[in-house]
Subunit: 245 residues, 2 copies
DNA sequence: CGCTCTGTTGAGAAGACTCAATGCCTGTGG
DNA sequence: CCACAGGCATTGAGTCTTCTCAACAGAGCG
């Protein structure tokens, strides 16, 4: 364990410079010297799919940046109903700086690579680096907008609209970032869902059976194709957009 | 009009110093000199109940601080379904700095007093005053947590739990801030709802009829009393908490 | 006193949920 | 390479909650 951590740090020493999200994460406003300091307080960590980083209700002692992979933020009622309240993608930020409590769990959906900080260390660093706080503020504002938009889906859309909207969002957010270079490709025609049917249900506020029925209905209608369990092909995007309302 | 604005500014000149939310709003980190500068770019504005400050889809040119009253943030689908995605209370912040688009409308629920800034002016000021950005970041993080918690309610709670949760939240958030002084009173036993039944439905993702039926059921069960159209008395708080799940 | 707006009540329909059974990949071990 | 177990997904039948549509009641106002 000790051994492993030292190795992680050693790897980490060189990794801020070479980090794949170096120019898109909140670190992008920092110069080389600042980056060195940040490097000292953070460390990289690998998560298996299904592994949790933070648990609901636990004291929030960690914050993190996602380097690779996807994670879910989930909240639940006492009686076991769960809702995924957010999905975190590479270069995005996880955690609640400047605060104690966490109201949700953070769990890896795929194998993931994150850059972890002790909250106290991060808070101190952020307080001294306004550029970083500014980036974080912009991100948080964007995330708030996105979350509010999702509220409309949860409360006012029916099962068909929810599933259609979800598939469209996935086809856009799973598109690799460098597609901007290969301009024109803003979304994927074929992709693998990083979610099980159960998890899709947890995102959309539906049961697993309803998700399954809606996906099958879309498939039967020729709007999408389902070549394998996790794979989706968007056959008629215009129709899917209509159904998303 | 010119006349009016000058008068507003004149009033405003004295009002930052005497502002009732001076110590709780994002301005609280600023010293007298900074406050003077902020004073120059902002102006106070009074809104009637029902009056809108920003419209959905419109370019976001304004940001504001709420001095008094309550406002709603609402989003809608093309076919007219509406969802209230947030409620803003005194000392809270409205708007999307550092960004173009607005995805929701801002409308006064009660008569309200707000301190308005042109977004460009505010952005510039914020960039030069990290303390203000820090306050704004904390607020935005808190709002994001609150919004995520509301998602759980929208997607996983039934009508009874939704209405019970709503009434409890109202009894807490409508409690005047100075109750901290009169320690122990964290919530109100009797209060006037700032929402119509329709608006409660829009907050909870329910129809007006369902809201009405649930309120009547709670009343019949002796958990609450409804002395008038807008008034609510919490008779058995423990029972109401149980029902909120 | 009547008008309008908001809220309440009722009956029926629709959508999603629950429970239960079946089918189909995937990975493991013979 | 095949057989089998376990997990995930699909399908079906029936129920329940909420919505929809429609009528009515009551407060507030001119």
């Amino acid at each position: 364990m000790r051994r492993g951590e030292i190795t992680d740090n050693a790897l980490n020493m060189s990794s801020c410079e070479t980090c794949v999200v170096r120019n898109t994460a909140i670190c992008s406003g920092l110069d080389a010297a600042e980056l060195g300091l940040l490097n000292n307080i953070g460390r990289q960590r690998r998560l298996e799919a299904g592994e949790s980083l933070v648990w609901e209700g636990e004291d929030s002692v960690l914050v993190a940046n996602v380097i690779d992979g996807m994670l879910k933020l989930s909240a639940g009622t006492e009686d076991g109903r769960e809702q995924i309240v957010g999905v975190v993608y590479p270069s995005e930020f996880i955690g609640r700086p400047f605060g104690r409590s966490t109201d949700y769990s953070v769990t890896a959906l795929t194998e993931a690579e994150v850059c972890v900080f002790a909250r106290a260390d991060f808070d101190r660093f952020a307080a001294e680096h306004p550029a970083l706080e500014h980036k974080l503020l912009e991100r948080t504002l964007t995330e708030l907008d996105r979350t509010r938009k999702w509220m409309l889906l949860l409360s006012r859309k029916n099962a068909q609209e929810k599933v259609a909207t979800f598939l469209l969002e996935m086809s856009e957010r799973l598109a690799p970032a460098d597609c901007e270079a290969a301009a024109g490709v803003q979304w994927l025609k074929v992709f693998d869902l990083p979610f099980s049917r159960q998890q899709i249900g947890d995102v959309l506020g539906l049961t697993i059976e309803t998700v399954s029925r809606q996906m099958m209905a879309l498939s039967r209608a020729g709007v999408i194709a389902l070549p394998s369990r996790r794979a989706v092909e968007i056959v008629d995007r215009a129709a899917l957009e209509d159904m998303a309302s």
